[in-house]
């Protein structure tokens, strides 16, 4: 018996509107509502709704033999609530069949795993809350943004209580090894790692409708032969891809739905084949070997690394600047600021700044609102600059025993640092429970754990 594990990634960012520097301090709304609504509606009609329906019918038709897994980002779900609530309903319908697993990830499809571990934890918790609220299930398996994985990320994820995680079966990671086995994290052997079979996944996700591909047209029976031709001892195949593959990246006219439908029917009628989900794999199989990934890998581009998001100077400056604001955002405890902070986390903003793709723009221009990476960077930095102005204004009003923070010194400053470290911890807890804005003028004293004060003190020194 050989099992196919389908997992679909669904994400749409809140794209930024054109934000000029002279809007700084004047305009605090950053999103291109028209564009976001337009793209979401379009993809909902071409992909989300029809494919959900197809999956639902296939599940109903085949009892509980057909299974898939999804990862829906928080910002995507928020946009559905705003622009296409019927899609949420159809995901709920899928969830209720019991044959659909929802995976855990960061709320904003962010790169927090490359920044602050606490921020990473916060965002994962925030996402779990959202999934629980909407679908009444708790995700058990973790997948990181763009399948970013390294030994260190794996260890963080394992500390959060997950027992398995998805990653890319990149050549430079696996070498001669096969992705069709379970592996474990070298730093924490209790974390199992599921690897994407990139060849078979990309045959569907990238090559399906490519007429210059030697295997075109790809039909289900041929594809099944490829799966069956794998060595005997390989008991499962992980097919991970963007959900937009079905109807958007590969248009409906290409026959992608027909392919999926035939594939499911043929797999189910074949005694040697079946479907499974990441959590079933985790329970059923034991890892065969440790996987050592000292440098982060991802499922993007030829390089399968982070260079599409954090490759150039602009991306590093923007990402660094964003992350430096974390403690202030928590301290400010403002609902709107927190929300903007979440939206600005989306990895897409950094992706648009990539200079790698001048040669190969096709995949990367997908839904990209900018003419050039420079354009993307300037726009993002303008927005971030306005965000910082608001944040500083907000945190300026915070006082410690009646004294503005910037006037604190000596003993009082030390006291304040201790005190705010506790406050932060408490606020973070509360933020995870999605609390509303909070008055921070009377900080409570608890155990110090965080290292926020030096940075805050630095920001405070700037006088307006």
């Amino acid at each position: 018996m050989r099992n196919i594990c389908f997992y679909f990634q669904v994400h749409q960012p809140f794209r930024l509107k054109r934000y000029r520097f002279f809007d700084l301090g004047n305009d605090h709304y950053y999103y291109d509502d028209y564009l976001n609504k337009h793209i979401l509606k379009k993809v909902a009609n071409r992909c989300y709704l029809p494919t959900n329906e197809l999956l639902y019918n296939l599940i109903k038709e085949n009892g509980n033999q057909f299974k898939v897994a999804f990862s829906l980002t928080g910002v995507f779900l928020e946009q559905l609530e705003l622009y296409a609530p019927e899609v949420i309903k159809s995901f709920r319908k899928l969830a209720d069949t019991g044959c659909v697993e929802f995976l855990s990830e960061t709320y904003s499809h962010s790169l927090a795993s490359q920044a602050d571990p606490d921020e990473f934890i916060d965002q994962v918790n925030q996402h779990r809350k959202k999934i629980e609220d909407l679908f009444r299930v708790t995700p058990k398996v973790f997948r990181n943004t763009e399948l970013v994985y390294s030994d260190a990320v794996g260890e963080q994820v394992s500390k959060m209580g997950f027992t398995s995680m998805l990653a890319e079966g990149a050549k430079h990671v696996l070498g001669w090894k096969s992705p069709n086995f379970l592996y474990y994290n070298v730093l924490n052997p209790r974390l199992k790692v599921l690897l994407r079979n990139y060849k078979l996944s990309d045959d569907i996700a990238f090559r399906f409708s490519n007429r210059s591909w030697s295997e075109w047209p790809l039909k289900a029976d041929k594809y099944i032969q490829w799966i069956k031709a794998l060595p005997k001892e390989e008991e499962f195949v992980n097919l991970f891809m963007d959900y937009e593959t079905f109807g958007e990246h590969q248009p409906l006219e290409s026959g992608i739905h027909m392919f999926l439908e035939n594939l499911v029917r043929m797999v189910i009628s074949d005694p040697e084949l079946g479907f499974t989900t990441p959590s079933e794999l985790t329970e059923r199989y034991q890892p065969v070997a440790p996987l050592s990934v000292p440098y982060p890998s991802s499922w993007a581009d030829e390089e399968r690394d982070l260079s599409a998001w954090l490759g150039n100077e602009m991306q590093k400056e923007a990402f660094g600047r964003l992350n430096s604001l974390r403690n202030l955002v928590i301290l400010a405890g403002d609902k709107d600021l927190t929300k903007d902070y979440d939206y600005l986390q989306a990895s897409d903003h950094f992706y648009y700044m990539s200079t790698k793709f001048f040669a190969d723009q096709s995949v990367h221009n997908y839904f990209n609102p900018y003419n050039s990476p420079y354009d993307a960077f300037i726009n993002y930095m303008n927005v971030l600059s306005d965000f910082i102005i608001r944040l500083e204004k907000k945190t300026k009003r915070i006082r410690f025993h009646g004294i503005p923070l910037e006037e604190l010194s000596g003993q009082a400053l030390e006291q304040a640092i201790l005190s705010y470290e506790g406050t932060l911890k408490e606020l973070r807890k509360r933020r995870n429970l999605m609390t509303k804005s909070k008055d921070t003028s009377t900080p409570a004293k608890t155990n110090p754990t965080k290292d926020f004060p030096p940075e805050t003190a630095k920001v405070k020194k700037k006088k307006n």
């Binding site: 002279f22 100077e313 602009m314 200079t355 003419n371 420079y374 960077f377 300037i378």
Partner: protein, 455 residues
């Protein structure tokens, strides 16, 4: 293979983009083993005339000399060894032709230089540009009597006349003429030699004057393009104009992008920047086509929000005074400066003092200056209405009229530190890969196709 080229200028006297391009191309062709007989118009004055040799019976003073490209002249390409140096035959023709001038400007130019009481400058233009003996007499006696027609068209036809003589006396395979002033020369050379003609369009009358174009110039351009066996344009922007406005068969119009000379590394060792602010520069002729007012409006927007920046408008032109008044009206003169016309080394100095270079041209067939800026590590903002925007990746591209976008790009470049870093990292490399050798190879291939159509 040998080319008779009617070009413009030669070092050390280079005054503009056309001369730079002709010179760079000649060097590139030399690298590609193409011999060039390079003819330029040049009025004799204080120059050394020891090598001057009169050609033919037309009495036009023509100076002919040989010139060998040295290694340091041709880009420091590793393959370029001593043996591959080519000899260049360089011919200067006694003519007062200057690139860039319209017929009206030319009159002014001549008048400014010679106080002449009784010239008849309203001579009718002969569309056929015939080679008559009287005309050559006129030009042949320039330096002795000072009597000549201050008429640009006259000069153009004189030049054509000499061209046909040169074509008869020299041995070559193909003729290559740069911009309209030399098209009649190219046509004449083609007629007298029967060799194929390539015309190279660096700019059209529409680029220079917009819709109020000079019909005579237009006719000369059109005639040149029609007679030519091949038309080379410096961008697809220009190619479209040639096809649409001049009605030339698209099959014989090809785009070959310009390149840039690799920089003299020792140009400015230590720039003496005396202001703390970032310097944003416009450099070029201050004329409508270059879009100076958009630059100024963007500057006003930036200055309203940022105080770490100064603006410089370098160059001169018919809009200079208007621009100065405009700056005063916008109230930005404290941080907006004018330099008037800059000469060669001053241009290098200006680049070395600049943090951002802006080329907001309304219409620019190619635009070499952003490449020169990038070569000096200066990030550039260019208009999408320039030919160079078709090839540059590491530049910020805006519509010339989109003052907001221009202001935003300037603000970004002077505010967010990683941006200039990016440009230093990638821009210079990109420009240094735009070599004249490559442009020359494309052109050589065009020559081969013309000469051996079957192969």
């Amino acid at each position: 293979m040998r080319v008779l080229m009617f070009g413009w200028e030669f070092p050390p006297h280079i005054s503009g983009g056309l001369g730079t391009a002709c010179y760079g191309l000649t060097r590139g062709l030399a690298f590609r083993d193409v011999d060039v007989i390079f003819a330029v118009p040049k009025a004799y004055g204080d120059e050394d005339q020891s090598n001057v040799r009169l050609i033919g019976a037309s009495q036009v003073p023509v100076r002919k000399r040989s010139f060998v490209f040295k290694n340091d002249l041709v880009t420091n390409h590793e393959n370029f060894t001593e043996e591959r140096s080519r000899e260049l035959v360089y011919i200067e023709i006694g003519s007062r032709l200057v690139p860039y001038l319209s017929p009206e400007e030319f009159e002014q130019y001549i008048r400014d230089r010679v106080i002449e009481e009784d010239y008849s400058w309203s001579r009718p233009i002969d569309r056929e540009i015939p080679a008559t003996a009287t005309l050559t007499d006129v030009i042949g006696t320039i330096d002795f009597t000072g009597k000549y027609g201050p008429d640009l068209m006259q000069e153009v036809s004189n030049y054509a006349l000499v061209a046909s003589e040169i074509a008869l006396e020299n041995d070559f395979d193909i003729i290559h003429a740069h911009d309209w002033l030399t098209y009649p020369a190219g046509i004449a050379a083609k007629k007298s030699s029967g060799k194929p003609l390539v015309v190279h369009v660096h700019a059209t009358e529409f680029d220079r004057t917009g819709e109020n174009y000079n019909t005579i110039v237009f006719d000369i351009e059109k005639a040149g393009m029609e007679v030519a066996d091949l038309v080379i344009t410096v961008s697809n922007l220009t190619r479209n104009i040639v096809i649409k406005r001049y009605g030339i068969d698209p099959k014989k119009v090809v785009t070959v992008y310009n390149a840039v000379e690799s920089g003299n590394e020792n140009r400015i060792d230590q720039p003496v920047k005396s202001v703390e602010e970032k310097v944003v520069t416009f450099l070029g002729r201050i004329t409508y086509q270059k879009g100076p007012e958009y630059f100024m409006e963007a500057a006003a927007k930036v200055l309203k929000h940022a105080d770490n920046v100064r603006f410089v408008m370098a160059g001169s032109g018919d809009l200079l005074r208007k621009m100065i008044r405009y700056a005063a009206r916008l109230g930005i003169t404290e941080k907006f400066h004018f330099t008037d016309f800059l000469k060669g080394p001053e241009v290098d100095l200006m680049f070395s003092l600049s943090d951002v270079y802006v080329m907001p041209s309304v219409s620019e067939p190619f635009g070499i200056s952003p490449l020169e800026a990038m070569r000096s590590n200066v990030p550039v903002i260019i208009s999408k209405q320039s030919g160079v925007s078709e090839v540059l990746k590491h530049a910020i591209k805006i519509d010339f009229w989109d003052v907001d976008a221009m202001a935003d790009a300037i603000y970004g470049l002077v505010t967010y530190e990683s941006l200039p870093t990016m440009f230093r990292q990638f821009g210079k490399e990109e420009v240094e890969n735009m070599k004249w050798e490559n442009a020359a190879l494309q052109i050589k291939n065009c020559y081969i196709k013309l000469l051996y159509p079957s192969s």
